[in-house]
């Protein structure tokens, strides 16, 4: 029998365990529809703010050894525009990523999506390169608690908290988010990083400091998924450097119920989702796993 690669992240059910990570390609319904047809199990939007944001001037994304460095600056068309754009959606499994500074920011945005078909929200508590949002919120447990509690009270769909490595203990952020009622955790965001060009002696990104993604951060992300799933009874989505089926399996063994993919698009483009899905399926067949959940976190028993 062919293995079943559908998976459940708490109450979120998806046909395939590979999601598009937030910040990547996510600004039009047509692109989401294409990536869904290419094999993505769910599409996480760019992080949306109350109003449109232009983001930082270029360079915003450059390659570094074993990964990519970005400080796009959360450019996005704003929640109202975006909600209207995807209002006709019937088939595509979309998770809306939201970014804000205070509970009220999130309340306003959630209202926009009340009548739009989405799977859930992912709260960006971890973007490492924009002031007063993202990681600056994630580093403040009291604020995380307030935001999650408020969103939970208003949202009709599940809430995922996306955490990253900031200046406080990320496990404390996870603990507070769990306590306040999140339904799942995505770990991790890009890691605060920078690159300096030796010829011109200048930082390359216009924002100077950005976030590191890609293969370079995968072992860090695997460790975080492992720690979170060991300490908390909470579904986890693994994110950080997934570029092959082996990477995806590694995250699942560490405790992830699904993975998100971003940087790997540069090398493998939109075929990356089906390639990884097929690899996962073949691995399950070889190892006699019939469901994804049979593999989730089994590395923890050693």
């Amino acid at each position: 029998m062919k293995p079943d690669i559908s998976t459940e992240v708490g109450s979120i059910k998806i046909e395939r365990p590979t999601m598009l990570a937030s910040g990547i390609l996510g600004i039009s319904l047509e692109v989401f529809d294409r990536l869904y047809k290419e094999g993505a199990g769910a599409l996480v939007t760019k992080s949306l703010s109350k109003e449109p944001w232009e983001g930082y001037p270029n360079p915003t994304v450059v390659g570094v050894k074993a990964g990519y460095l970005n400080a796009v600056g959360l450019s996005n068309p704003g929640a109202p525009y975006f909600a209207k754009m995807i209002s006709s959606n019937k088939t595509v499994p979309i998770i809306v990523s939201l970014v804000g500074s205070i509970p009220e920011d999130f309340d306003i945005m959630i209202k926009q999506f009340e009548n739009v078909k989405i799977l859930g929200y992912e709260l960006n508590l971890s973007c490492p390169h924009v002031e007063k949002v993202g990681l600056e919120v994630g580093d403040d447990p009291e604020l995380v608690h307030k935001i999650v509690k408020s969103v939970k009270a208003k949202s009709k769909v599940p809430i995922i908290a996306k955490v990253g490595l900031g200046s406080s203990d990320y496990l404390e952020t996870v603990r507070v988010a769990c306590e306040a009622g999140v339904d799942a955790i995505t770990a991790i965001n890009t890691v605060r990083a920078m690159a300096i060009d030796v010829e011109t002696t200048r930082p390359i990104l216009s924002h100077k400091i950005g976030g590191l993604s890609g293969s370079a951060i995968k072992p860090i992300a695997v460790r975080c998924v492992y720690e979170i799933s060991s300490k908390f009874d909470m579904p986890v989505i693994g994110c950080g450097g997934v570029s092959s089926w082996e990477d995806a399996i590694e995250f699942i063994l560490a405790g992830a119920s699904a993975v998100q993919i971003g940087s790997a698009l540069v090398d493998k483009w939109v075929g990356v989702f089906s390639e990884i899905n097929n690899g996962i399926s073949k691995y399950m067949e070889k190892k006699n796993f019939s469901k994804i959940k049979d593999m989730v976190g089994i590395a923890k028993k050693f």
């Binding site: 001037p57 270029n58 994304v61 450059v62 450019s75 704003g78 525009y81 011109t200 540069v266």
Partner: protein, 272 residues
């Protein structure tokens, strides 16, 4: 496809020569083996340190191992690039994107402004047996450039380079698309290539398609990463940087954004 750089980190190059093409257009020449060999239509991300990074179609240089960018000053970043002097440094990454499909026979190229850059490179990839017509569109006489260069590249081909100015100060008078319409009624072309303002390209694609002629256009959108990550250049369900920048007319006419809308820095659709 030519050589590939093994990283997406900017490589620093020095401007070696600056050529004034018109009062507002300059070509900057530099040494870079990888960019000297790109396919016609491919682009590079060009870092002007401390200012910005811009997607630029790679211009030919007539010297081996050298490449160039031809830039018109209009915005802040392009004006800074335009103003660079010999000896100053820029960063380049790429090449990125696909390229024009090389066809043979009677070929028509329609360019407007700096949209001529990938078409000039395309000329260097054509066979000596091809019969080539290049239409150069411009507002006025002192904005015309690359006419002489195109004639030189095509000197061993059967060819014609036709300049069209909107004010009639040089060459034919009117719009390139009007001249194209005329040509199509006289000559049976095997393929049409275009790059320039999107409204112009839209008309070129419609005209060629109405005569069932294979046509390709290189489109431009707001670009940030150039590699297919950020999504800024999305154009319907495709990404200009990754699926393009060259698309064929059959596809373009199914894309609702072509000729009408593009996204701004925040990703909001705006009308052309």
């Amino acid at each position: 496809m030519g050589l590939q750089r093994n990283s997406d980190t900017p490589t620093i190059v020095k401007i070696e020569k600056v050529i004034d093409e018109t009062p507002t257009v300059r070509t900057l020449v530099f040494s870079d083996e990888v960019l000297s060999n790109v396919s016609p239509g491919q682009f590079a991300m060009v870092w002007i340190p401390g200012i910005n990074e811009l997607p630029m179609s790679v211009m030919i240089s007539q010297e081996k191992g050298k490449a160039a960018f031809t830039v018109r000053k209009h915005g802040l970043a392009s004006t800074e690039l335009y103003s660079l002097k010999v000896g100053e440094q820029i960063g380049v990454r790429g090449p990125y994107g696909n390229s024009f499909t090389i066809k043979q026979g009677k070929l028509l190229l329609v360019g407007g402004g700096t949209g001529l850059v990938p078409l000039i490179r395309l000329l260097t990839f054509l066979k000596k047996t091809d019969d080539v017509t290049l239409l150069v569109g411009s507002k006025t006489k002192n904005e015309v450039f690359f006419e002489k260069m195109a004639n030189q590249i095509l000197e061993h081909n059967k060819h014609q380079v036709i300049v069209v100015t909107e004010d009639g100060s040089y060459g034919k008078t009117g719009l390139v698309t009007e001249v194209m319409e005329n040509l199509l009624s006289q000559i049976k072309f095997d393929a049409v290539y275009t790059c320039g303002p999107e409204k112009m390209m839209h008309k070129v694609v419609q005209l060629a398609s109405s005569k069932n002629i294979y046509v390709e256009a290189s489109i431009e959108r707001m670009m940030k990463c150039g590699m297919g990550l950020c999504g800024s250049c999305c154009f319907g369900e495709v990404l200009a940087c990754r699926d393009g920048t060259v698309f064929d007319g059959k596809y373009l006419l199914t894309n609702k954004e072509f000729g009408y809308t593009h996204r701004n820095k925040a990703g909001i659709l705006e009308n052309y």
